[in-house]
């Protein structure tokens, strides 16, 4: 990999700088600007980043290596030679396009969504700063710089979840996200230390290359893989660290769309894909990734069934879809995972923006039990949301169908985790796919179909959102519909995205079952989607939700609505333990160390009284003591030195 500024591909290194410049401009001066100037400036910064990203992506077409560029030295210590440097390769370019493309649409959408908010400039500055951090994350050539972006997105996410900080619940949600992410970050640091100890480098390419020279399944590679899994689980809201994402919906809805659906939460998937040569050598760690993903997918889908908040349903859905991606990277189907990141960014971004449009129209109402029939009043929002719903449900020929099928096929045919129950993983994911179609049908139906259950005063004011908000919806709907054609089933058709990504990803051997089996897998995912949608139709359209109410009101319903009890368990276990430990140490610090040592000393409390007499003369006393001490020192040294 070589690079210089003369190569247009390297200009992608400017993308984070554009976003950072936007953040600084808007953050420092935006408060005095009239609306919508902060939003416009912020959007222009992202547009500029999108342009260099697109130039880089086009420039990379037809090359089989990326471009590396070293900017300045960072940690030149102990032979590690960590620099601030970037690598622009197909994997990075794909993420660059998603981040800046979807990011641009969401910036534009936000101009009207955040109109008249007194934190308008702060909002856009943080959104730009987020994009800058995310771009650093995907461009970084070393684990250290990756971690700069990794924590940077965490900080921005924290600030944006708690954006409306005056309400306690919002600030609490931001705090929770930050702390849970920090647990994952500790895993990242530990993994980095182990990488440095094992490979003597923190540069990703070097570490990947060296991992190849280790024995397949070497224990140290497994350990590194598991530690990075902890990191990825924190950032991507996977078991057992998924608990922050549903609460993160406290932030403004465009934030949920960009950060908590399309980009930041996919960082864990990116991390595993970026380290795919290492994971490909560590089957046990890969299996752990896959199992965490599959179980998360299933559990989050079950939780999504019972939610009543329009955004929380989507949040659990995001957790679940990220689980699909984890299952894929775990199984060695790296390109399939990145493909699903790509399509998911469109349809989930779209669904969140549609939800935002609904919330905007209903002046803050978020409970789907008090919605219904909105598709007739908000035609653009409703029809865009329908495309998104069908895409995520896996309806054939829409984008989600292709990427989900690629994951299911990839898991079924995995050689990497073949010995770790790949067929069972497949079964879990297939069931989850059916549940996905069901809960998304429920979501769409409760919001947009059937009779209106709106409060009367709200119903009178329902309106379609303005053009700056609906235009991004339409663009995303179009992308959610057609993006899948970049990755047609590889066994029978040209799969462009797989060959595009090939230079960046490890290639893991896959099973090649007879063609009829491959087609059967496709059929299975079609059946799962159809079954889910049909069940949804039967319960919500035909049965008017009566059955759902009976089940949802029971113990199981409550259990699912509470996210299967994770929060309660953490409160009872870890949180209270940590608080108890802190309280105990604080008492010990005061009563044992401080008073204990002091008590031993107060026998000499005459000193205190002497000091009282002197007040600041006390200082003179010390000066005198020092002088005497120094003189004594000189004398003793002279005496000893004389003898020596």
């Amino acid at each position: 990999m070589t690079g210089a500024w003369s190569d247009p591909v390297a200009w992608a290194a400017l993308a984070p700088l554009f976003a950072l410049a936007g953040a600084l401009l808007v953050g420092l001066f935006g408060r005095r600007w009239p609306e919508p100037l902060p939003g416009v400036v912020a959007s222009l910064a992202i547009a500029a980043a999108f342009v260099v990203a697109a130039v880089a992506a086009v420039g990379l077409l037809g090359r089989d290596a990326g471009v590396a560029l070293t900017l300045w030295p960072f940690l030149p210590v102990a032979g590690l030679d960590v620099s601030v440097g970037v690598v622009v390769d197909p994997l990075a370019a794909t993420f660059l396009l998603i981040i800046t493309g979807v990011g641009l649409l969401i910036h534009v959408y936000s101009i009207d969504y955040m109109r008249d908010d007194d934190g308008n400039a702060r909002y856009f500055a943080l959104l730009n700063l987020f994009v800058a951090s995310m771009l650093v994350l995907v461009l970084a050539d070393s684990l250290v710089l990756l971690f700069v972006g990794w924590e940077g997105v965490g900080v921005c996410s924290y600030l944006l979840i708690g954006f409306w900080y005056r309400q306690r619940a919002n600030a609490d949600a931001g705090r929770k996200a930050f702390i849970v992410n920090r647990i994952g970050d500790a895993g990242f640091l530990l993994a980095s230390f182990l990488v440095a100890a094992t490979f003597g480098t923190l540069t990703i390419a070097d570490a990947n290359a060296q991992a190849g020279s280790f024995a397949f399944g070497a224990g140290v590679l497994t350990a590194i893989g598991l530690l990075f899994l902890l990191a990825a689980a924190g950032k991507s809201a996977q078991l057992p660290l998924h608990v922050w994402l549903p609460d993160a919906m406290a932030g403004p809805t465009p934030v949920s769309a960009l950060i908590h659906a399309a980009t930041m939460v996919t960082a864990g998937v990116y991390l595993v894909a970026r380290l795919s040569p290492l994971y490909a050598q560590a089957p046990a760690a890969s299996a752990a990734v896959a199992w965490v993903g599959a179980l998360t997918a299933l559990i989050a889908a079950v939780a999504a069934l019972a939610q009543t908040d329009i955004k929380r349903i989507l949040a659990y859905s995001t957790v679940s879809q990220l689980g699909f991606m984890f299952a894929a990277v775990g199984a060695g189907a790296y390109a399939a995972a990145v493909f699903h990141v790509f399509t998911h960014a469109f349809f989930k971004g779209l669904l969140f923006l549609a939800a935002g449009s609904v919330i905007h129209a209903l002046h803050g109402e978020q409970d789907v039990r008090r919605m219904g029939g909105l598709g007739r009043r908000m035609r653009l929002t409703g029809s865009s949301a329908l495309v998104g719903t069908l895409a995520i449900a896996g309806v054939p020929l829409l984008s989600g169908f292709f990427s989900k099928e690629a994951i299911l096929g990839g898991v079924w045919n995995s050689t990497l985790v073949e010995d770790y129950g790949s067929r069972l993983l497949f079964a879990l994911l297939l069931v989850t796919a059916g549940l996905t179609a069901f809960y998304m049908f429920r979501w769409y139906h409760r919001v947009f179909c059937g009779e209106s259950r709106l409060a009367r005063d709200v119903a009178a004011k329902v309106h379609e959102s303005p053009g700056t908000m609906t235009a991004p919806l339409v663009v995303l709907a179009a992308l959610a519909a057609v993006a899948g054609y970049l990755g047609l089933p590889a066994f029978a058709f040209p799969n462009w995205i797989k060959s595009w990504l090939a230079p960046s990803l490890a290639s893991v051997g896959a099973l090649h079952p007879p063609l009829w089996v491959e087609w059967l897998l496709v059929a299975a995912s079609v059946v799962a989607a159809a079954a889910g949608l049909a069940a949804g139709w039967w319960i919500y359209e035909r049965g008017r939700g009566a059955l759902a109410e009976r089940v949802g009101g029971g113990v199981m319903g409550r259990f699912a609505r509470d996210g299967l009890g994770f929060d309660a368990a953490y409160r009872a276990g870890a949180v209270s333990t940590a608080e108890g430990l802190a309280a105990g140490l604080a008492v010990a610090d005061r009563d044992l160390l401080d008073r204990g040592i002091a008590a031993g000393v107060t026998t000499a409390s005459w000193l205190g009284r002497a000091v009282a007499a002197w007040q600041s003369g006390f200082v003179r006393l010390y000066a005198l003591a020092t002088l005497i001490g120094l003189t004594a020192l000189a004398v003793v040294v002279a005496a000893l030195g004389g003898r020596a």
Partner: protein, 495 residues
């Protein structure tokens, strides 16, 4: 010569401040003193930054100063942090401001001496003398319960000094070194037998552990901070004076490699424990300055962990973290003064919702606060990362324990920000004043600079860290034996 001026100039300005009759000249004079010292520090890059003249020939001591190494970096950062501190103190201290400023300048002179001294006796002299300004600031401008805090501080300091005095006395004659200059000691002291080295190292380490401070020798720190003047300026001076880590780095570890190796496991354990201990306890307090004191105690635990790893990256990182926390902890103490200005209290219950009426104050505080909890791209991260990385190479368990502190510090940071700035504000407070902008500017600039481009400083630190001697092969088994004995003793002590 420049190195000598870095000590003498602030000292002269301090004296002038104490004597100067006209109040109008006090602040400009003090600012001149700090700026000039900083400029001198920046000029002292090559030969001009070194000085070596005999002091007391019969003792073998020298006036040896060097501003081109690790100490030079720390001296420059200390001067840079005192810049906003003097600015702030000059405006906020109402009673006898010229004397307060004089003591700040005296602190700077003493710190320059500590950081630049390349003669052990000279180092010890500066070490002792610099205690004075801190005590004076507490005695003259402290709060109601300052007397108890002073007594406690003094007792700890004297105990530490006594231990170091013995160590200083022992290391020269016992090793038969030609003199007390660093290079003279380095030629002889590492050859001492391991047991002697261990005893001498223990003397140094005790003094340095008090001054770092680390558990269980930290009790003075919290009270001193709590009782210092409400502007927070004296706390900055105190923060800069936490030079124990530097003492280990520049003197004890290179001169006594066998002693360092023998006591390293104990140091690692105590350091890692301190890191978690400080961060956890900080979450239980509701007094802003006590919280900052415990949080900085946690940082010092990480510094100790990095140093006692005896690993190149660990030692280098510890010095970087020491420099960074001067800026971030110091900056947070200045913020505490700004907050006290607005609410007249350090109790967290007096705050909440300040971000609404003071958004710029909230944003600037957030940057410094996040820097102090180790968010990458800001000041503390490079040092913290390398210190822990080094610790991991030496003792993975210590690194894992210290990493818990990273999680706890994160929780602490966001909890604190929430209590201060988020929520519904009770009443309006004013946003940053022009003076506060001027105070924040250098703090924020340093926070970013140390976080984004730390390479030059790291290279300087590493060069010096690499000069330390290692334990010879024949001494290694003895060292291991001593280390084991220390471990048994420590375990017995815990029980």
């Amino acid at each position: 010569m420049i190195a000598a001026l870095m000590v003498l100039l602030p000292l002269a300005v301090a004296v002038a401040l104490a004597l100067a009759p006209k109040p109008a000249v006090h602040r400009p004079l003090a600012m001149f003193g700090v700026v000039a010292t900083l400029v001198l520090g920046l000029l002292a890059v090559d030969g001009g930054g070194r000085l070596e003249v005999p002091w007391i020939a019969s003792l073998g001591t020298w006036i040896a100063l060097d501003a081109t190494g690790a100490g030079g970096v720390l001296a420059r950062v200390a001067a840079a942090v005192l810049l906003p501190t003097v600015l702030w103190a000059g405006a906020r201290v109402e009673s006898r401001p010229h004397l307060f400023l004089a003591w700040l300048l005296a602190t700077l002179a003493g710190l320059s001496g500590i950081f630049l001294a390349r003669d052990l006796v000279l180092f010890y002299v500066f070490w002792e003398l610099t205690l004075l300004p801190g005590l004076a600031l507490l005695a003259g401008w402290g709060l109601t319960h300052r007397r108890a805090a002073m007594v406690k501080y003094l007792l700890y300091a004297v105990a530490g000094s006594f231990a170091m005095l013995i160590a200083v006395l022992a290391v020269g004659p016992l090793s038969g070194a030609a003199g007390y200059r660093f290079d003279q000691l380095l030629a002889a002291a590492p050859l001492l037998d391991p047991l002697t080295q261990t005893w001498i190292f223990a003397g140094f380490a005790f003094a340095f552990a008090v001054k770092l401070p680390i558990f269980p020798l930290h009790a003075w720190l919290v009270d001193v901070h709590e009782q210092n003047h409400a502007s927070g300026a004296a706390d900055v001076a105190g923060t800069l004076y936490k030079v124990g880590g530097f003492g280990l780095f520049a003197w004890a570890i290179p001169l006594l490699p066998a002693g360092a190796t023998a006591l390293a496991p104990l140091g690692l354990a105590l350091g890692a424990f301190t890191a978690v201990y400080g961060a956890l306890i900080a979450t239980r307090h509701a007094h802003l300055k006590r919280i900052l004191a415990y949080a900085s105690l946690s940082h010092m635990g990480v510094v100790a962990v990095g140093l006692f790893s005896l690993h190149l990256a660990g030692k280098t990182g510890s010095m970087a973290l020491l420099a960074a926390q001067m800026v971030t902890t110091g900056g947070l103490f200045l913020v505490s003064g700004m907050l006290h200005d607005r609410r007249g209290s350090f109790e967290l219950d007096a705050f909440g919702g300040l971000a609404r009426s003071a958004p710029a104050l909230a944003a600037a505080t957030l940057v410094v606060l996040f820097a102090s909890i180790g968010v990458p791209g800001l000041a503390n991260f490079p040092g913290e990362f390398l210190a822990l990385l080094g610790a991991y190479q030496a003792a993975p368990a210590a690194a894992v324990l210290a990493l818990l502190a990273v999680v706890a510090a994160g929780a602490l940071g966001v909890n604190l920000y929430q209590r201060l700035f988020q929520g519904e504000g009770r009443e309006r407070v004013r946003d940053v004043t022009p003076l506060e902008v001027a105070v924040f500017a250098p703090i924020l600039a340093l926070t970013l600079w140390l976080g984004v481009a730390p390479a030059a400083n790291l290279t300087t630190f590493e060069r010096e860290a690499a000069a330390a001697q290692t334990v010879t092969a024949e001494a290694a088994p003895v060292v291991a034996e001593i280390a084991a004995a220390v471990g048994v003793l420590a375990a017995g002590g815990v029980r």
